[in-house]
């Protein structure tokens, strides 16, 4: 009884980490609250729809495509929006409104182009190119369930958990093993000092913003498999969930998000098991409790004031 929700929580939690990590990168580097984060997830899902329905290919191929596409979109959007925003008196708060506006625009454009209905992709199509790999993981072909410790889980969960781990690993490599990543961490910890030492802060930030949106789009590719279906209005709820995960882990620490996601996933699955009608209350209560006990999140530095 307990093993099932625990394993499910870890699998789903890893995906939740991917869902939040882009948001956290953007906030950590720029102190920008990207309220349109969920809408970029939704756009990622539409990239997957395009890859599958227009090109007839394995939706997993949408992962690199969505990433590259939205890194570019992110860098362009950064140039258009952020420098102007940073000139204002309270950019952190104003970003909330700016990106709320952006989320409205994205939802409206997608609705105009594709209508409002639910869309998805059949589960067995995910990883169809890698049936062999799926077999190695213990799945039957045709996208059947995967056995873990004698319990069966959707293959899509396992695939997305694996992709999440890889993506989080790459974020780690980027932040700790590349020059741009080191500069990114410098900007994250001390923005003004980074400026003073001659770092091209704009370049660092544009890259972080692009990568943040790219990661959101990757998470979006899996959204039709993890949430059943996606509509243009999907973004708002996804943004709130992403926030909860990010704050649980700690705002501004992308790697804390991995922990936040798993904690969230496990708690959600446990409540769904034992008190299912309260399942949506828990994450918020959990968030508030964590914030009050450890205001900076599970892995954060001190941010409390007064």
């Amino acid at each position: 009884m307990l093993a099932y929700p625990l394993i499910a929580g870890v699998l789903f939690g890893l995906y939740f980490s991917l869902l939040g990590i882009g948001l956290n990168l953007v906030f950590g580097v720029m102190r920008i609250v990207n309220l349109a984060h969920g809408d970029f997830l939704m756009l990622g899902a539409f990239v997957a729809f395009g890859v599958f329905y227009l090109l007839g290919l394995d939706p997993l191929l949408a992962v690199p495509l969505a990433f590259v596409l939205f890194v570019i979109v992110g860098i362009v959007l950064y140039g258009l929006l952020v420098p102007r925003l940073q000139q204002s008196r309270d950019p952190e708060m104003l970003s909330i409104i700016l990106f709320f506006g952006l989320s409205q625009v994205i939802e409206a454009l997608v609705t105009i182009a594709f209508g409002t209905s639910e869309r998805s992709i059949p589960s067995r199509e995910l990883g169809s190119l890698m049936t062999a790999a799926a077999k190695a993981l213990g799945a039957k072909p045709e996208g059947g369930p995967v056995d873990i410790l004698g319990q069966s889980f959707p293959a899509a969960w396992v695939i997305s958990a694996v992709v999440s781990v890889i993506a989080i690993g790459l974020v780690y490599v980027y932040l700790y093993r590349t020059r741009l990543g080191t500069l990114t961490r410098a900007v994250m910890s001390r923005r003004d000092e980074a400026f003073a030492t001659g770092i091209n802060v704009d370049r660092v930030c544009a890259a972080a913003f692009g990568i943040g949106l790219g990661l959101a789009a990757i998470a979006g590719v899996f959204a039709p498999f993890m949430f059943g279906s996606v509509t243009p209005a999907f973004g708002a709820d996804a943004t709130v969930t992403a926030f909860v995960i990010v704050v649980l882990g700690s705002l501004g620490n992308p790697l804390g998000t991995a922990l936040g996601g798993i904690v969230y996933g496990i708690c959600y699955m446990l409540v769904q098991t034992f008190l299912s009608s309260w399942a949506d209350l828990l994450p918020y209560v959990l968030l508030i409790v964590v914030l009050l006990l450890r205001p900076s999140g599970l892995l954060g530095r001190k941010v409390r004031v007064a």
Binding site: F27, R31, V33, L81, R84, L85, Q87, S88, R89, D90, E92, M93, L94, I96, I97, L98, F100, G101, L102, S103, Q104, V105, E107, A108, L109, T111, I112, A236, V240, F243, V244, V247, L251, S277, W278, D280, L281, P283, Y284, V285, L287, I288, L291, L292, P295, S296, V303, R304, V305, A306
Partner: protein
């Protein structure tokens, strides 16, 4: 003439007069009522955000709690509507007290924790386990108290009281001290300002007016679901309106509501398509080109805006 009296005479009194006369010349009373509601909520946001810097992203929590406070008083205690509205205000304050520890958080942490709190209250109220008290997800229908004229008058009175408090903040040492806290909490504390107590007062007043607004809203609409009165649109609209006009002033939020909510309704009444797109673009343009709000147009020229 002291500036307090001048502000009451020149701003509050004409506004009240306008809302007294308008129902006679314009028939869409609900539009006028919603204007009053958003004026109250925008000023409520102004009280807490404008004067202390805490952005209440889940402000609708107080509003919805107030609406349900009203409904419970009427359904279970057969209270007369005006008394139930007062009770709605008390519910708002009680929820505010419960959430006071959130004030220990700063910046985006507070905003997100407040959002989580509002969602938690929503899921609590809407849970079927509470059906005997709140009617859970099945919605309330309050036919006995329905009286749109009195509800409108009640809303205008609440607006007058709210404005009175903002005028007081703007013209008192209390308000000055709050703003000093916003700019630099440490120096203000050293100068002998009781930072915590003052913030809590502003927070509770802000919760009170939202609770009262929720109460009259419930009185006016009579039939509603949790999703109706806890809709995050209320928070987002109130924040966007207040910021657009310019916070920490009396006029800013008023101008913001009248212009932005005016445009919103104009688009809604005239443009059958692309409503959301136009509004989203408008909001983005405002943040990018008028980041300090409309009043900044005047203050930039050196005019003093009350």
């Amino acid at each position: 003439m002291p500036s307090f009296v001048r502000h009451m005479l020149l701003i509050v009194a004409p506004l009240m007069a306008a809302f007294a006369i308008l129902p006679g010349v314009y028939d869409n009373h609900l539009l006028l009522f919603n204007f009053v509601i958003f004026l109250i909520l925008a000023q409520g946001v102004n009280i807490i955000y404008g004067f202390t810097g805490y952005l209440p992203f889940g402000y609708v929590g107080f509003f919805g709690a107030g609406a349900y406070g009203f409904a419970i008083m009427v359904m279970h205690l057969q209270a007369p509507a005006p008394l139930a509205v007062l009770a709605a205000g008390v519910v708002g304050v009680l929820l505010g007290l419960l959430l006071t520890p959130l004030l220990r958080l700063s910046g985006a942490y507070f905003a997100i924790a407040n959002l989580a709190a509002a969602l938690a209250v929503l899921h609590f109220v809407a849970n079927p386990a509470l059906e005997s008290i709140t009617k859970g997800p099945y919605g309330v229908a309050l036919n006995g108290t329905f009286n749109p004229t009195l509800a409108y008058i009640g809303a205008v009175i609440i607006l007058a009281l709210t404005l009175g408090f903002v005028v007081f903040l703007r013209n008192s040492s209390f308000g000055m001290a709050l703003q000093a806290v916003r700019e630099d909490a440490v120096s203000a504390a050293m100068a002998g300002v009781n930072v915590v107590k003052m913030r809590v007062i502003a927070w509770l007043v802000s919760a009170l007016v939202a609770g009262l607004a929720g109460g009259v809203f419930a009185w006016y609409v009579s039939v509603f679901y949790p999703d109706n009165v806890f809709s995050s649109d209320f928070s987002i609209f109130a924040i966007v309106f207040a910021l657009f006009g310019g916070v920490a002033t009396i006029m800013g939020p008023i101008v913001g509501v009248i212009i932005l909510y005016g445009i919103y309704n104009l688009i809604g009444f005239t443009t059958p398509q692309y409503f959301q797109l136009i509004y989203g673009v408008l909001i983005m343009a405002l943040v990018l080109f008028l980041p300090a709000g409309l009043v900044s147009l005047a203050t930039r020229r050196g005019w003093n805006v009350p």
